[in-house]
């Protein structure tokens, strides 16, 4: 038996490119303030967009927002509130594509941003595979630490649902 059953998931990849402290907190099930306005908005958008599609598909340790078939292509979709965190969103979706690839399924990826009426295609290339491999290793390193990385003020702190926890 391994000491932890910990597995890197898409949410942690997303956080990894925004704030390492969030990675640690999320991995220890210390979720952010559930009443936070941004969080609430995100949840609502998620719930009320693309109601005709298959949503929330669980595949092993990953949870895919949306699966759609267009012109014989399988599309794996990730729904986002805005295009503000494009790097994070792209890496998260690439992570899903990478995981699916390992299961032997071929699919295309698209970011869905309903509020901006945008769809952005995401592809998994060699660069992304290498990057994700490194990120996964680094996430495990962060999570295995006894305490979270100290809070640091960055530009994302202002709208963050962890802000009051970090700065209290």
């Amino acid at each position: 038996m391994p000491e932890t059953e910990f597995q890197v998931n898409g949410t942690l990849i997303w956080y990894y490119y925004i704030c390492k402290r969030q990675v640690w907190l999320m991995a220890h099930a210390l979720g952010p303030d559930q009443e936070d306005n941004n969080l609430y908005q995100g949840r609502t958008i998620h719930e009320f967009s693309y109601q005709r599609d298959k949503k929330e598909i669980n595949l092993g340790n990953i949870k895919i927002d949306l699966v759609r078939s267009e012109k014989g292509r399988l599309i794996i979709g990730e729904i986002k509130k805005s295009s503000k965190f494009l790097t994070s969103a792209t890496r998260q979706l690439q992570f899903y594509l990478w995981q699916i690839e390992q299961m032997g399924i071929a699919a295309c990826g698209e970011l869905f941003i309903p509020e901006e009426k945008q769809r952005i295609e995401v592809i998994l290339d060699e660069e992304a595979r290498l990057e994700l491999e490194t990120a996964t290793k680094k996430i495990i390193d962060i999570v295995e630490k006894a305490a979270p990385p100290p809070a640091q003020k960055i530009k994302w702190c202002k709208p963050c649902a962890y802000a009051e926890f970090c700065w209290a």
């Binding site: 220890h28 099930a29 210390l30 979720g31 303030d33 559930q34 009443e35 006894a146 305490a147 979270p148 100290p150 802000a163 009051e164 926890f165 700065w167 209290a168």
Partner: protein, 330 residues
Amino acid sequence: MKKAIYVFNEGKFKRKDNTLYFETEQGKRYIPVEDINEIHVYGEVDLNKRFLEFLTQKEIILHFYNNYGYYSGSYYPREHLNSGYMTLHQAEHYLDEQRRLMLAKLFVQGASANMLEVLKYYHNRGKDLTRALQSIGNLIDRIDESVSVEVLMAVEGNIRDAYYSAFNTIIDKSDFLFEGRNRRPPRDRINALISFGNTMTYTACLSEIYRTHLDPRISYLHTTNFRRFSLNLDIAEIFKPILVDRIIFYLLARNMLRSTHFENKMGGILLNDKGRQVFVNEWEKRLRTTIKHRDIGHEVSYRRLIRLELYKLEKHLIGEKLYKAYVSRW
């Protein structure tokens, strides 16, 4: 910010599709479920399982009080925030006597500092509170010297006595003479107000704990073993002086509460329905009042301050940052 709802009359709680409503003989009152996070029930109500399941789904906590306004219990929905990591650290700090004592001291220090702030405010406004200020000042040194939680509890009792001894000077009304703290039943009107207000603080703290990863059953100053919820009692110590006592002084100074708001019951004196409403209105107003928080960088309400206190405790438990209680600067 989500609201608390208070129910004083008789009626039925119901769920209709995705809304809640309260039905009385006078009619129906709809309660927007997304807007509330707690319901306080003083009146006689009927409710069913469907209603409770809906509350669970919406993570709404329901607090019940009996006819005399005493807390009788809460419908505490299934935990929605679980972190084994946090629970282990919370228990670890209880089981290790030194760590438990340290946290208990920090709570008593915070509570005492807030009592001092309340007294200083009135002292600076012409009430001679020199004696109480001095005795509390002397007793505060003994907090740190306490070798066990039991000794600490006794010191805390002495501090509270010295603090309460100043109440008659502050209030200065013949209808509201305070004869020292007593409860169950309270023997005078001030005791009735303190008991009522303290209960409000306990339930407010419990509601906030529900929104964190902390387990309300594990506390440090109060003993964990003998009751269901106790962490809320620890946290409430910090806030009782700045919330409850300040409200009491405020309402009495403006004659918003009079002797007609009380009644004799059960061989004691209790607030009547009208009195409770006056208190609850002011209570809600207070909890929504915001103050500028220096570390957070924006305005926070008093209700939010309770949450921040819990965040600080969480950070203490996981070894991130030493807990330091909130001390009012008025």
